[in-house]
């Protein structure tokens, strides 16, 4: 490894907006609400000022869970479960891989996942068309 040059070390204390701790509490309250009343919550991280480095600390605090999902819809969306069951991190990217939005969802199944009724209806038509019959069950 290269030895660092003679520049004196610059000591930078981690900046702190004081927002990280309240955010984790907000998540805790939301999880309790989900468990007791079944009410889901979405927290928009863009609405919150976090200092450089604080976002990484948030990531560390939430950790990794069992589920990792990638969606291809209007660019990629990555959904990962955190170490806390029911707490999901959702990152929306555009076609160039730039981040468009980040949310934390406290819910059983993230909102973008379930198949959509309109599209299932179109899928059924398509499948019927592919099988060349109006009623493939017959």
């Amino acid at each position: 490894m290269m030895k660092s040059a003679s520049l004196p070390p610059v000591e930078i204390p981690p900046p702190d907006t004081g927002n990280l701790h309240p955010l984790l509490h907000e998540i805790r309250h939301a999880l309790a609400r989900l468990l007791e009343e079944g009410e889901p919550t979405i927290i928009d991280l863009r609405a919150l000022p976090l200092a450089p480095g604080e976002e990484r600390r948030l990531e560390e605090a939430l950790g990794e869970g069992e589920v990792e999902i990638t969606l291809q819809a209007l660019g990629t969306t990555r959904i990962t479960e955190t170490r806390y069951s029911g707490v999901w991190r959702v990152v929306h990217l555009d076609a160039n891989g730039e981040v468009l939005g980040k949310t934390i969802e406290i819910t059983t199944v993230p909102t973008l996942l379930p198949a959509q009724p309109g599209e299932m209806a179109r899928a059924l038509e398509e499948l019927e068309g592919a099988l060349g019959s109006e009623d493939p069950g017959e």
Binding site: V10, G18, N19, R46, P49, P52, A73, H92, D94, T111
Partner: protein, 356 residues
């Protein structure tokens, strides 16, 4: 006719799936600084939304505002918003020029009389009609003519909103903002030099979603974006509270990221979303890059008395700024910006109620 297609149909035609549409809605909610719980309402509204015609007029300006929007960091969403509107006239962006361009404007106005959105960047010179013209038509005349048939007017950039640089002393062209000319139409100011791109598209998205302009502050700015001061949401705020200030751009304090108040930061009296929305692909904002806020979204920021003078040393603005900062200081310990956000969410809760 094409404009009668709803936005949902338009996206479907472009191969955007329902999930893609919902993703678009959730990003739009975030753009508009609305709580995520409003996504279903936004989806319902956007599904029915018709494409509004937009006429964009550029007067005494530097094209920075158009640059800002077309270089924005969310191309997909911005493009979709722009697809969602029918931009019928913008003399910098449109292919047609000269009499063809003017013809396009006349046609769009006639077809959409009373319904189109008018976007203006740049100020209007009253000193001499010849100071600034488009196709030989003085700015004032064109603004009056186009504003007459507009459903609403969006003044983009500090020049259109408050006069901006052309209006700075001694104001050689007699520049005035749009609000001095257009008095009888719903008008929203989106100041900034330039404004944050997502704020411009956020206002468009709001109009698309709700069919009306968003809630405004006393200076005609949308509260969702201009509801907090830079200082309220600045990550250097804890240094300010502890009295740790950089005294020069290269001292120990500057290197440690201390507060830039004494180097002229105008964050305490400036209302804008830079601290959270950020610039250049979300990289940073001026204070994060080590320079104080210039206050570019405030009226007459050019004449404020010096970008590098601390507010406390400036006549008038200083005392106002200090008082505002001291008042907000009560919230330390709980995270000042956190509380500010809670207040804003409360205000938005009302908006949510209204939309139901």
């Amino acid at each position: 006719m094409k404009k009668e297609t709803t936005l949902a149909e338009l996206l479907r035609q472009q191969g955007v799936s329902r999930r893609g549409f919902l993703k678009f809605c959730s990003i739009t909610a975030s753009l508009m600084a609305l709580p995520p719980s409003m996504v279903p309402a936004i989806a319902r509204a956007l599904e029915q939304a018709r494409r509004p015609s937009v006429i964009w007029l550029s007067f005494q300006e530097c094209t920075g505002c158009t640059e800002s929007m077309t270089r924005s960091h969310a191309p997909t969403v911005e493009n979709l918003i722009l697809t969602a509107v029918s931009l019928d006239y913008h003399h910098t962006l449109q292919a047609a020029s000269g009499s063809h361009a003017e013809e396009a404007r006349k046609v769009a106005m006639k077809e959409n009389w009373g319904k189109y959105l008018l976007v203006v960047d740049g100020s209007i010179p009253l000193g001499n009609p010849g100071f600034s013209t488009i196709a030989g038509i003085p700015n004032l005349e064109m603004l009056q003519e186009v504003a007459e048939g507009a459903a609403a007017v969006i003044a983009v950039g500090t020049c259109a909103a408050y006069g901006g640089l052309p209006h700075a002393a001694p104001n050689p062209t007699g520049a005035v903002p749009v609000s001095d000319i257009v008095k009888d139409k719903p008008l929203v100011n989106v100041p900034g030099c330039p404004p944050i791109p997502v704020v411009i598209t956020g206002v468009l998205a709001h109009f698309l979603t709700f069919g009306r302009l968003p809630e405004l502050d006393g200076l005609g700015r949308p509260l969702a974006f201009y509801g907090n001061s830079i200082h309220d949401r600045c990550y250097r705020r804890p240094f300010y509270e502890r009295g740790q200030f950089a005294e020069s751009f290269d001292d120990e304090g500057a290197r440690k990221g201390w507060c830039l108040y004494r180097l002229g930061c105008k964050g305490p009296i400036t209302y804008n979303a830079c601290a959270t929305t950020k610039w250049n692909d979300g990289t940073s904002f001026p204070i994060e890059s080590g320079h104080g806020c210039l206050g570019c979204s405030q009226p007459d920021f050019w004449d404020g008395g010096g970008f590098y003078e601390p507010l406390s040393r400036l006549p008038g603005g200083g005392t106002a700024g200090l008082a505002a900062a001291a008042g907000a200081g009560v919230a330390i310990g709980l995270g000042a910006s956190w509380l500010a956000r809670q207040r804003q969410l409360k205000a938005r809760g009302q908006a949510e109620e209204d939309s139901r």
